[in-house]
Each structure stands twice: as C-alpha cells, then as structure tokens.
Symmetry: C3
Subunit: 331 residues, 3 copies
Amino acid sequence: MSWNRRHVLSLADFSPAEYDTVLQTASSFREVLTRRTKKVPTLQGQVVANLFFEPSTRTRSSFELAAKRLSADTLNFAASTSSLTKGETILDTAKTYLAMGTDMMVIRHKEAGVPQAIADEMDRLNVKVGVLNAGDGQHEHPSQALLDLFTICSLINVEKPRSALLTGKKVAIVGDILHSRVARSNIWSLTASGAEVHLAAPPTLLPKAFAAFVKDSNPEISRQLFIHWTLEPALIDADFVMTLRLQKERMTSHLLPSLREYHQQFGITRDRLKLCKPGVRVLHPGPVNRGVEISSDLMDDPVLSLISQQVTSGVAVRMALLYLMGGGKVG
Amino acid sequence: MSWNRRHVLSLADFSPAEYDTVLQTASSFREVLTRRTKKVPTLQGQVVANLFFEPSTRTRSSFELAAKRLSADTLNFAASTSSLTKGETILDTAKTYLAMGTDMMVIRHKEAGVPQAIADEMDRLNVKVGVLNAGDGQHEHPSQALLDLFTICSLINVEKPRSALLTGKKVAIVGDILHSRVARSNIWSLTASGAEVHLAAPPTLLPKAFAAFVKDSNPEISRQLFIHWTLEPALIDADFVMTLRLQKERMTSHLLPSLREYHQQFGITRDRLKLCKPGVRVLHPGPVNRGVEISSDLMDDPVLSLISQQVTSGVAVRMALLYLMGGGKVG
Amino acid sequence: MSWNRRHVLSLADFSPAEYDTVLQTASSFREVLTRRTKKVPTLQGQVVANLFFEPSTRTRSSFELAAKRLSADTLNFAASTSSLTKGETILDTAKTYLAMGTDMMVIRHKEAGVPQAIADEMDRLNVKVGVLNAGDGQHEHPSQALLDLFTICSLINVEKPRSALLTGKKVAIVGDILHSRVARSNIWSLTASGAEVHLAAPPTLLPKAFAAFVKDSNPEISRQLFIHWTLEPALIDADFVMTLRLQKERMTSHLLPSLREYHQQFGITRDRLKLCKPGVRVLHPGPVNRGVEISSDLMDDPVLSLISQQVTSGVAVRMALLYLMGGGKVG
C-alpha cells in the first residue's frame, strides 16, 4: 500500500503504486457492497462536505453514498442557494465549512483550479482537511478516471485489479476531447498504466495544440499517445473504447455541424466495434445522449457496454479515496 | 400476513388480505413511533432513493423520514438540479441509481406510468429493486390512499385496523376527481374494503366518461360507486368525507368559474356536515387551500378533521410499505 | 444549570443564569468536537426539521451538523420547492412537520415573528415541540448572538466561559444596525452580560428612533447603550468590535452613497483598531463583503479576527440549544 496524499486533485503525478493502492482498496470495498448491510464504521463521526458549485446529481449522489457507507455524516452545498450569491468568495465558503468541523471536502466547480486553490489554502492554514476534485472546468476529474481504470482492470482480473494489466492495451477515447476533464484525467491514468491511448475527434474538438500541450507536459507519454481526426484508426484493434459526453452547446458555438452528422462520423455502434479486438468493451462517463455519442442499442448491451459497471465502480472507488485521504483503516 | 409484491404501483389489483397486511404492519410501526427512540434497525445499510421528478416537500419528507426511521440511508434526487436537463432519459437516471446500489426507489413524476415503466425495467434486468409510486400524473398515489385507509380504519378500531371495518360505510369523495390520482387510488382501496363510494364534483371535474371508465375497468365495483354533480346526495348519511385539493390552474383552464363559487357549491363546512352521519370525519390529502375545499375552522377542528392524523399515518404506512417491499422483519 | 425554555425565540428576556447555562453546555460540547468521533447519542431517534423559508447555506449547515452530531435525524425544507407555492400557510406547513413526528423545528423566515407564531401554535396544541428562531426578518437571531457571546467569553476564559466576564467591557457594533437581527440579539445578550454597547453607523442605518425604541423596551440597559454616527468614539478603548454584513440592496434604496464611501467611513481596518484596547478582537457574522465592512487582510488575520472561531462556536452553541430544548442529558 502506497499512499501519502491528503488531497486528490489531479492524476498528472500519480504513480503506478498509487493507482494500485486505489484499485486494491476499491476492490475490498466492492466486497462490502455485496453484503446485505453495505456499511462500514470507518468514518463514523467524520464530516464530508460536498461543495458542488456546479450542479450535478449523479456525481454528488455517488460521493454522498460513498460517504454514508463509510458512516460519515454529509453536508451538501448547492451553489444556487448559497452565500455565493451574497458576494462571499469561494475560499471563504470553504473556510466556513472548515471552521464547522468538516474533515473532507469534495469540490466541483466550473473553473479549473478551484479545488487546488482550496487545498492550497487548507495546507497554508495547516489543517488536516482533505480536498477531492470532483471535476474542475476542463481540467481534471480524477475520481472518474480512477473508476474507469477500476472498471477495466476488474474486467481483466476481478480478483486482483492492478494497473499493469493495461500494459500494451489499446484504448480509444472518442469525442469532445478539447473540453473534457474526463479525457484529461484518463490520459494520465491510462498512459501511466502502460496503455496506448488513441484520441479521436473532429479537429475542432481535438486541435493539434492539444496534443502538443499534453506531450510537452509529460514527454514520457509521447510514445503512448496518438491523435486521429477520423474514427477508424482509433478503433482498429482497440481493447476499450471510451466515449465522451457531447455538450449540446458545442453546436451553437459552431464547433460541430449537427448531432446527426457527428453521430455519422464519430458515434459508436455495434457495427463499428467490428474494427476493434474481439472482447472490446465500451465506456461512457454519463449522462449519455442516446444516439449521439453511442447508439441506443449498444448502450443497453449488457456485455459490450460497461456503463452500468462504471457507476457501480464509482461508489467503491470514491469510498476508497475518502478512506485513503482520511488515513483510516477498513472497518 | 399476505405479501408477494416487490413494487407498489397501483391499488387496482390489491386484495383485501394485502390491505390488511399493510394496515397491520403500519399499526406495529405506529407503536414504534410512540417510543422516545423512534427508530428500528430494519433497513440498516439499505439505500432508499427518492426520485422526485415533480417537486414535493411534504411527500418527500414523509418518505425520507420513514426510510430514516427504518435506519436506511436516503438519496434525494430533485429534478431541477438533475441530468434530465442534460438530456438523459428517465430510465437511464433510474438505472444510474440502480447501479449505485439503490435497494428501493420512490418515484414521483408528472406523467402517468413512469413508476410502472421503471419497475418493468428493473424486472427486465432481473434485479431485486422495489419501486414505489409516490404519485404519477393523474393516475395513482397508492401510499396516500393506504394512509387514508389506515387513518379511518384506526379510528374505528385502533388496536386492529383492518379493511373489513369499512363494509357498508359510506365515503364521499368531493372535488377535482377528474385530475386526482388520490381519488383514483382511494376508489380502489375503499371499494375493495366494502365501502360505498360517492363521488361529488361539478360535471367539468367529473365527466360521465370518468365513471364509465372506472366501472368498465372493474365491473365488480359498479354497485359500490356513485356519481353526483351536487354535494348534498354525497354527504347524506356519509361516514367519511374526503376532500381533494383544487389546483388553482383549473380556473385558468375554464373548468371552474371561481374559487368562491366552488366553495359555495362544493366546499365542506361544519354546517354541511350536519347532513352526514353523527361521528362523521373529514379528510384532505394536503396541502389545503383554506376556505376553498374546506372551511378554515373545520380544517382546524381537532375532532372533525383527520388531516393531522393522515400526516402521522403517512409515516407509519410508508415505513410499512418499505418494510414489506424489502422483505425484511420488524427489528 | 438554569433552563426552563422549550423555545428559543428572542434574547430580550434571557437571564444571566440562562446565558451561563448555554455557555457551559456549549463548552462541554466543544470538548466533544475535539474527539475523533465527534458525535454523541443524545438525540438518537429524534427529528430536527430545518424549515428555512429564506434561503441560507451557512446557518442551515451549522444547524444540520449540530443535529447530526447529537445523532438526531434531520429533515430539510427549502422554501423554493415547497407547498408554499401551492398556497399552504406557514402554520399549516409547521403543523404538517409536527404531525410527521418532528421533535424540534429550526425556523428562518424573512418576516419578523414567524418563529414566535409557530411556537405559540405548538403551545396552543399542547405538544412538546421546541421552536428555535434561526433568524426572523430584522427582529432577532438568538443563536448568532449566543455564539458571539460564547466566542468572546471563551477568549477571556476558555475553561469557564460565563457572561459575567463581560462586565465593564466595551463592545462596538458597527454597520447596518437598523436592518440587523444580529445586532438586536447582541444588544440583549451583551447588555445583560454587563458590557457597554456602542453602536456606530451612518444616521440612515441608525436613526435616533432606533435607540429610543431599544431603550424604551428595556430602560435598565439605557446606561449601557450608546449611539454614534461616526466610527471613532465607538472604537476608542473597545475590547471587541462586531461588524455587520452590509446588504448590497441598501445602496439601491439610497440609504448609502457607495460601498467605497461606506468603507472609508465605517470599514474596520488594522489601522483603525489602534484606537481600541490592546488585545481587541473583531467579529463578523458572515458572509463577509471583503473590503467593505472589514479590510481583507484584517479578516484573514489569525489573531485579530474571530470570524473562524465564530463559525466553530456556532456548531457547539447550536448543539447546546438543541440539547437544552430537548431536555436531555449529555451522552
């Protein structure tokens, strides 16, 4: 077990040993979730504050459930009813929750860097409060990438999911890469695990500069990262296909001609999966625009689609992260 | 004890034995609620998701409290902050909560049939998740009718409330029958219990076709169901008077002349209750428009009005339903 | 220990013995909050309903956390999604929560007197439900003044905070006195504790009639209450400076020229604190408009500013109030 982090903000500097610690811990919590009483006393009396400055039901519920299953108390903050409308700064909001006695903060914000700024402030104040980035702008969404990693590693070896299982695997990431925090976090986790990552999108959603930026920030992964402006080369012999949610507002900002045309060029269908390796599986972080990123029947395919497993993995992985950040022991 | 249901979606096919099982179970939970510690460990570690696609404070709080008193963890979903605005389908939302590990779903939706559709999908997926209809469009609101039944049967025999106590009783249901899911569910439970049900409303809110439809769908109850377009015949010798909430929007859609005129013709007052049997009691599902469906002083009458008891019954009945659906044992 | 109240609605008639009971109880809960498991079973199985007819994240979270740390179940009511929009009266809403089995109600409303009216109704119904005023219009906010008292008394004697510690101390309250429920509650608690209270604000926010009104309602405190239309005389030799939140809407209603001018005349800065006693401390109920009521660097000063301690005190004081109202014993 290798873990020295108080915060989980980005996967850019995660080590293989850290990935394996998360996978192994999540695996033990998955076992808890099969019991009738799906609860452990690990975080009893601790407070987890979900500070969602950007609305989200799915991710907030997943974190809330993870915290409750660790027996923590939860506080939910929704931006719409908050003091933010009264002119308070975000750091002041976070410090208020700190002063109330919050032990861990789960932060979502539409601006990149907000969770980092809050974590920095907690460290500056020298308080032992962990900050978890639950999605910041177009920057990162580490718990999503970790649950994706847990899902696909568990598929390969359910007893012992570990990142090295991805060595030499080909993973296609398809869709709105440019605006996707999910893609960014997955690029770090997948390349660190030894996979080849093939990005596929129209040039407006995957500009050359993006690839250059990623490679510049970590030259080691250059040989594992590939850019495609058509779908086919990304799919050929792929082991896993990750589709990304397409924001409808990309149309109105003229980055895409139409949803229909997008689906024709980059939508994932059963037919197109024939280009991939036998045994290929499809992922999507949800919520899905059926018939846009992925065809409706493929999404519901209980074998090919891992979407449901991703959601289930999410609770176990978030339990693992809260547990590790809390420095506790599995009860 | 007779119970084989995973879901509670409609009362149309409830048997007297099933009604009695609910009443008997609710009765034992009512006893729990008189203790200082109003909590049992029955559903410890289970997750009850309240998926309210239509806003409601009262019903949502009642279900939330019922779940908490059974020691379940609760997840609340409010449509306004949800992925629905992001284009996800309702079934996909339900499947997301399923994948997170939800054991029971309490669903409210403005469209009839949504809870049924979700229950069908759960069965198709062969998962042991119970679905409870907390109000779907103008279709049904079974837990409301069951708490009404529990309230009036308990009044007749607090120790042993059972549906046969209503045999031969006359119950008037007054108000916006046409648009009322509460009325529909109550018609099933009251007629199945042997009561005579007298519906009273202006013709715009109680068209002939409505009565024909109800009788067609269950000819057995024809002899127990009566239609009145004036209030008096419904009230004469009634044992119970159920008033229904009048939606203000009925005015703007020209189904009613004015609230004042409605109250003059169909509003329940102390004076009008003189037509009923001695010992008559008045019910209302809430929230009440004071002075419209019912006069303000009658509503506050601690003897004649059962409104407060209905709310109290609601928690016990909802505990009973969650308990029975969960297949557990009273802790 | 002196306590006979079921409700906490106003501090106007609080006795020194009652203040000391709150301070002493809060002090014992503060000790609980330093443990790893910050929870006691005191209110297990009890239900605390937070009925916030006016939105608030900060105060609602503080009460929610206080209730959870006493092991109570909590119900949250937010006005926006409530039956109020359906025409139900506030008293009916409160009675609905009563009928569900609520043991204590925490009420915030934009109209003065609403918590009192609900408490009166509960007494009239002869039910043992406690009502706590969490802020009603411009009237009172007793838990805020009690946490302020706890904060400054604890600063003077952390082991034994008691109100007599303020005898002869000078406290300046600066800002929008006229519209502030926080100021009103603090005037009662501070004068009852023997402090001299110096109010400072522009005449539009502190009209002569205000002072007359306060003194008329309690002539005993006349000798302890002083009015200033400039900042200096209030600050000279002050032991504590309480700043109040300035509502932005005061500008648009022409009560103030501009935020900048307000800050120049009444904003609290390090420099201005030199007029005060050595060891002076600054309080603010939050949320703060940085650079308006108080300079940004002063707000963040870990010695001079008590803002963070106020928030922490809030949880302990609210635990104490719920505990005392519940008539229980510290677990």
